[in-house]
Every structure is written in C-alpha cells, then in structure tokens.
Symmetry: C2
C-alpha cells in the first residue's frame, strides 16, 4: 500500500468528459489499495479568461484581488471531480488551498509555499478518502488567498507530495514524458525513462515546457520522485529522480533550443572595472532578466559587451543601453532579435571532457556560426542565428548519439 499524489493539468480537465477520464484513472489507483491525493489545475483556457475579465475592469488589477478571482478556476475543477467521484460511490472530498493548509508568503500572483499542514489530509486518507486539492492556490498567515504563479499546480503537487512523504508524485500532462529533444523539431527524439532533477532544471529553464521549474527545485530539495506521464495513455512516462552512476555514463541527456531571447552589444566601451555593472544595473532595475553575458577585449583599452534579454523586453533594453552607452562613450549599440540558443544538458558532462569541443565541431560541420557560449556544470549553450535552430538541434542530437535506432 502506498501513497500516490496525482496532478492533472488544464488540458487533462478541459471539460466534463476529460474529468471523467481523470476520475477513472484516480479510482483505478485507489482500487489497487493505494491512498490517493489528486491536485488539479483549472480547465484549459479558464485562467486566461479570468485574466481577460479582470482586464475589462482595469489594466492593472490589484494582485490580491486577482488571486481571489483566479483561485475560482481550480476551485471549480476540484469541486467537479470530487462530485463525480462521490457519484461513482467513492469517498472523496475537495480541499481548497486554505483548507489543505497550503501556507504561503504574501507575494500575490507569485507566492512561495512556506509549509503545508498535513493534518486534515492525513485524517481524510486514514479514513480512505480520495482527497482532491485545488492546485495553484494557497493562503498566507492572514488567511488571504494567494496563487503560486504560472504552472503553480505542479509546485502544489510536489510540495504536497513532499509534505506527505508520498511514494511518487505523478504529473499527468498532454505530453507523454521528457524527450531527448522536442519531437516536433527532431523526429529521432526518444522518450527518456529517467532524468535527474538537475538535468530537468536546466531543461525546464531552457524551454522544455514539461514541468514548472520551481516544482523541480522543490522535488530536488525534498527528494520527491516525480513521474511525468500522459493523461491520455496508460504507458509509463519519465521519472525525474536523483542522479545515479548509470545516468552519469551518458554524456548528453537532451538537446533544447530557445528562441525567446534577443542580443544586445555595446561596441568599444572603456575596458575598466565596474563598466559591466554600470551597463547592467539599470537593465536589472527595469525588471529585465539578463541571461548570457560576454565581454571581448579589444586593443586600446576598449571592450565589446554583449548580453541577451527576453525578446519581450528587447526594445526597452535597447533604449536603456543607448542612454548608458552615450554616458560612457560606447561607439555604438547593436541589437539582434534573430537569435536562438541551443543547449546540450547532461549530468555525465561532469565526468567527461571534450564535450564542448564535440559540440562546436558538430555545429561547424553544418556551417553554423557560434555568437556566444555559456556553460553550467551540466550544460553548454551556444547562441546562433535563429534560422539554424532546428538544424542545430538535429545535428547535436545525432552527434551525441541520442537518435532513436530504427527498429
């Protein structure tokens, strides 16, 4: 007998018919003798519709009140599933964030979970209830409703699984697992049976939109085994777990690409200590997140500073750069929105050398020019021209032996 936390995303509860499908999967687990806690998202599209409704009222909805409004989405699906389970003669009960004691800070719209009082859930499980928890929501110390930010239901699920010491946290979604590359780009991509938390973190941050990044951090911190799998198929998906020796024998686990960034270069700025800070401080103060940064020294005490920002913030970042560039005597500010970042990720990199060289050669063979390079312990990313993104992913996928063998 185990304890299984199952989280179903928006497309999995998009209408009453799909909620019936969820109910079938839930009772199947229950009938195996396991205790089951279900975490639900709002129906697909509902959160966006609620935001639209708020925008009809005002362009800048108060964050506390927006959370009160958004919380109705998950409240609706939780009530409907519990209702359906009861109608099927299973003991079920819905709990909202405050009832499940999901206590958060007061950062409305992007709250962090502080702790989860498992008292009520445990009591219900002891009496063999199926507990259906509205995801995405919690409440602060004053009893205000908070929400956890986009994709927050993943975080709800992993946090509740951690608090209950669940045997597994299953994330049901519309993809059937984590792949070595995006199957839409790379036909030879393979589903990974297992991936480490660290690899998942790097890949989640790089545009493999399978799991919300904070949920993976949570899972890693509390060592919660996460099983990413399809709502619509029975087959196993991908287990996200701690790295082991087996995983480290593989150099590269996955290849990802990201077209959401733009590049800005300040040409020939004085090569002095503190110059990068002078440029990047006002960018940061404007709330713009800078990703890669490189500095190329020139002769004559000058240097080029290049960095990337999200495309949505590109115009504003250029304006700020031009203002600062004028002050510090930069020769010019150049920008490029047509870039992509391709990355290889793998815990095996730690113990293998020459991986970067292998990556650069693979790109060179396709005549793809590398504009910038950034690395972490288990990832290497190259900024390239946007039009080569898909070609680069396929080339790297082959070069690191990830292609599916024809059967």
């Amino acid at each position: 007998m185990g304890l299984v936390v199952k989280k179903f995303g928006g497309t999995s509860v998009a209408d009453v018919e799909r909620i019936r499908n969820v109910a079938r999967r839930v009772v199947k687990e229950y009938d195996r003798g396991n205790d089951v806690v279900v975490i639900l998202s709002a129906m697909a599209g509902v959160t966006d519709r609620l935001i639209q409704m708020a925008r009809q009222v005002t362009d800048t909805p108060d964050k506390r009140e927006l959370d009160v409004l958004l919380a109705t989405g998950e409240q609706t699906t939780a009530a409907l599933l519990a209702m359906l389970l009861k109608a099927m003669d299973y003991p079920a009960v819905s709990l909202l964030g405050f009832q499940a004691e999901v206590r958060t800070d007061t950062a409305f719209g992007n709250a962090r979970i502080l702790n989860i009082g498992t008292h009520r859930i445990r009591d219900l499980l002891k009496n063999r209830h199926i507990v259906v928890v509205a995801g995405f929501q919690g409440c602060d110390a004053q009893g205000n409703i908070t929400t956890l930010g986009r994709g927050g239901s993943d975080t709800s699920a992993v946090a509740i699984a951690a608090a209950l010491c669940a045997d597994v946290c299953e994330i049901f979604t519309d993809v059937d697992g984590v792949y070595t590359a995006d199957p839409n780009i790379c036909k030879k991509a393979r589903k990974l049976p297992r991936i480490s938390y660290d690899e998942m973190l790097e890949m989640a941050g790089l545009g493999a939109k399978v799991l919300q990044i904070r949920s993976v951090e949570f899972a890693k911190k509390y060592n919660v085994p996460v099983h990413v799998r399809s709502s619509f198929k029975e087959e196993e998906g991908t287990m996200v777990v701690n790295a082991d020796a087996d995983m480290e024998s593989v150099v590269v686990t996955g290849v990802t690409s990201n077209k959401n960034e733009a590049r800005i270069t300040l040409k020939q700025v004085p090569d002095q200590p503190g110059i990068a800070a002078k440029i990047l401080t006002p960018i940061g103060e404007a709330g713009i997140v800078v990703d890669s940064i490189i500095q190329n020294p020139h002769s004559g005490g000058k240097t080029d500073l290049t960095f990337t920002v999200p495309k949505a913030d590109y115009r504003q970042a250029v304006e700020i750069s031009e203002a600062v560039g004028g002050e510090i005597g930069a020769q010019a500010v150049l920008g490029d929105e047509n870039i992509a970042k391709v990355s290889i990720t793998g815990v095996g990199m730690r113990s293998h050398s020459g991986v970067a060289a292998q990556m650069f050669s693979a790109l060179a063979r396709e005549n793809i020019n590398i504009m910038m390079i950034t690395t972490s312990e288990i990832r290497i990313s190259c900024v390239i021209e946007e039009k080569y993104a898909e070609l680069a992913v396929r080339a790297l996928h082959s070069a690191f032996g990830l292609d599916q063998e024809d059967s």
Copy 2:
C-alpha cells in the same frame, strides 16, 4: 458618520459595466464619510450555469461539493468589485465567507448562519477600507464552505449588518421598492415608503419576491432597518422596520397573489380524531409542504378534508392521498391545479374589526367564489379560481383604499 451595509443582487452585477455602476454608488457613500460594507451576489445567471455544469457531471451532485462550486460565483464578483475600487484609488478588500467569518451549520445548500466574527471587518473599517463580502456563502466549524440557499445574499447582508450594528442595510435590486400590489397586475399600485417586518414576512412568503424570507426574519430578530431600493435609480425605496402606531392606522398595507399552489380534497373521510394527521403525515414525510388546511364536517360522522400543496408536488401529493384515502375509506380524492391565493396583509388588522367581511364583500361584488380561507394575525388569504387572481387583486386594492391617487 455611520456604517452602511449595501447588498447588490445578481442583476445589479450582471456584467462589468453594471459592476462599475455599483462601484460609483459605493464610493459616493464612502465619500460622504460613512463606513461601507458591500455584499454581492453572483452575476445574474451564473449560479444556474454552475448548477447546469454540476448536472453534466451527475444528476445528484454531492451537496458539499456543489457548495464549493457555487461559491465561485460570489467570489468572482467580490474580487472584480474590490479590484475596480482599488483601480479607482479607494482602499478596498474582498472577503470570502470564511474570511468574513460567516459561521454556519453544516446544512450544505441551505445552511443557517450561527454567528459572524466581526473582528476582521471591524479592523478593516477602522482603517477606512471598503469591505466587499461575497454573499450567499459561509463556512462551518470544520472550515467547509457552505451556502445559504436561494437568495442567501440577502441573509448574508442582514446578518452582517446585525453583527456590525450597522445604521442601515440597503438591499439594491431591480425593483425600486415594495409595492401595495404587483404593479404588473395592478396599475394603481403605490410604492410603500415603509413596511413592518411582520408585513414583509407575510408578503415575502406570499410571492412578493423582493426579499428572501429568512433575511427578513433576521432583520426583525436583530432590529436591522432594511432599505429596499433600486440599483439603477437614486430615489429612496421602501424601509422595512418595526411597526409603529402610524402603520397601525392603516388597515391593509398590501395585496398579493400566488398561483404556485394546487388544492387536494379527500371527500367524506371518517370524522375521527387523528384523521387529518393520518392523511397529512405521509405528505409531510415526502417533503411536501402543506399550506392551507380546512375540514368541513358533513352529516353522518363524515368530513371533507382539503389542503393546498405547491404545484410542483401536486402529482405526488395526489398519489399519496389516493393511497391513504383507500385505506381510510374516503369516498373520493379530488384535485384542482387551477387555483390562486389572494391575500391582504397589514399590521393594522390587529386593531380593526370587520376586515375579513370587507374582503369577502369585495370579492363577492366581482362574483368571485371563495374556496378556502386562512388567516394569520395580520393576514387574510382566500383561495379562488386561478383565472380571477388579477381581478381579485385589483378589486381588493381599490376596496382597501390603496389605489394611487391621480395627480
């Protein structure tokens, strides 16, 4: 400086434009220097749509879970209004039932308010916040969400007004007050400036659908002045207050009619003690509410027993009556769905005699036959043929001097 509780019904918050209108009325009150607590219903039609959604899941939705679902309706409007007020630079905050500490029993779908912890509302008012409370909902001792039944937002408003000792509880609705008769039936009906709780209770129970009956009971019990007025006009409506000498000088305050009942007669049943109980007990056990009951003795130890039931329960009541009638040897069971009940109500009846005779004469002048008569201390009702209902209302309205004088 006073404290005003304002309740807006579903048609008053039916869309964002109407919520803007509500906001305007609220800030006008606030700008006068008064403290304001606002109670909101769900947008018109939303509660019905949520019930429809539940019925897609199951024909018999679990009552606890249905309450969780229905509570989203008022949560939505409360969040939207608070958001709008904040956008208008007024300090506002929404409170759900559990946050406003509206504590109820556990009768899901039809819960009764036990008490209201005013701590949080008072703190907010002290800091000159406008407090927007989601109506219709509360929570029980275990923190389960409950709802108060149809029209429950009126009860929320009056109960909160009572708990806060508010100066007045204003009920904004789509009619502009309580009339001496339904203006759709009787063109000469006048808006009453004042009406007593007791009269309102009799009239609410008789089909003048202005205020939920439980809210009036609450208002009477705690002596809360209730002001029924239009959301769409500025003019004063009707004050519902304790009866005073002034009111008692008027014999009849209003005339109402009700076509929602049907009549059942058991002919020639034995005239023995306990026979009425024998017939009416199984009706009551089936959850059917019997209204008027009369018994006409015959010769030979026989009697006719007649009673009225809601039209919706008529078929079932006839079946039960036929079964019981067979057992006790009734001669026949007769039924009539084409009846109406017309009533005159007024606290002045207590101190005036001959009111009933005056009523019967007025009906007789129109050749309207009276089938049954029931009375309370401040009301006389006659069951008549349905087709005469409107004529009877107009005749009684004239006979008791209620007609609007032509100006």
